[in-house]
Symmetry: C2
Subunit: 163 residues, 2 copies
DNA sequence: ATTGAACATTTTAAGTTTAAAATATCCAGA
DNA sequence: TCTGGATATTTTAAACTTAAAATGTTCAAT
């Protein structure tokens, strides 16, 4: 038997629970490896942090901004967390907080023109980095995994799923 | 054409770079969703944090402990980070630092018997949680994704790959 | 033996993250 | 109108995280 065949046989013998545990560890490890790369490049090339990039990526899709709670849910981070990230983005004049007339509890967060311009550059670079980092995975493989992960995410209460 | 067929056609039209970007966003989202669940349950049931669990998981596999640097590389976190996590685990008497005679720069970190006992319980529970969370993915699917992610990880300098 | 580069770890500063408590506001029902 | 539960956000405390600088140690080449 080939070496690869032996690996397959050994894996097939694992109970499903062990396979899923392996999958989870791989998932975490891969996500961390990519995150580390992206974080470092964002810092060096654009002087922004990954969470700040994530917030801007959420905002750029919306016509009318998002509230703090919407951001928190979309990014799957705690609500208190968003406050600090937005504070720093406001300081850098990349986003602004607007008080809607209708509900004085909430704020609408929007990108400023400066934020839009910076994000456009960063997003373009970001797509290129990811394309390089994932170069070993072709489009079909990528789609298959995306679909598998979609099924997975439906089991987990909480987070939104977006394009 | 079926709705699923339309989705496939639309996805097939995307350039590979967009597909890879989608994959990365899904990967991050799935990992976060699982992490949130695991973190909460570890805290509630075992009063430990996820990073502390990760450290103990690394240590339990070793016969002779690991140095701080080995831990840092294995977990793919910065070296300074490990210091604080170990400090807190030492306070809880779950691990201990040993000074090896050979090299006074380094420390060997080991699980205490208390740490081993706690981790054994937590690891068993953890495997069950992950099995539930990933229940939609069968063993074959899991193995396929694991293999795909392995190929991916090889592109990324740094992190170790482990069973 | 000395020196200097490499290595292991800790420290520091800034930012992120969470859970939980506190504040302020909204809104529906009595 | 009033009251209470729900909602939106901020604050707080503790832990995590990183990058970079500082400290101490090792080791090889002189």
């Amino acid at each position: 038997m080939t070496a690869a065949g032996k690996v397959r046989e050994r894996n097939a013998m694992r109970p499903a629970s062990k396979q899923r545990l392996r999958l989870w560890l791989r998932l975490l490890r891969s996500a961390r490896a990519i995150e580390t790369q992206v974080r470092e490049r964002l810092r060096i090339e654009f002087s922004i942090t990954l969470p700040q990039f994530d917030v801007m990526a959420a905002l750029v899709r919306t016509e009318n901004g998002m509230t703090m709670t919407e951001l928190s849910r979309h990014l799957m981070v705690s609500n208190g967390n968003v406050t600090g990230i937005i504070d720093r983005l406001v300081t850098e004049k990349l986003v602004l907080r607007q008080a809607p007339a209708s509900d004085r509890r909430s704020f609408i967060v929007r990108l400023t023109p400066k934020g839009e311009a910076l994000f456009a550059l960063a997003a373009k670079a970001h797509e290129g980095w990811v394309d390089d980092l994932l170069a070993d995975i072709d489009a079909d493989e990528a789609e298959r995994i995306v679909n598998d992960l979609d099924g997975l995410a439906r089991n987990l209460r909480g987070g939104e799923i977006n394009s």
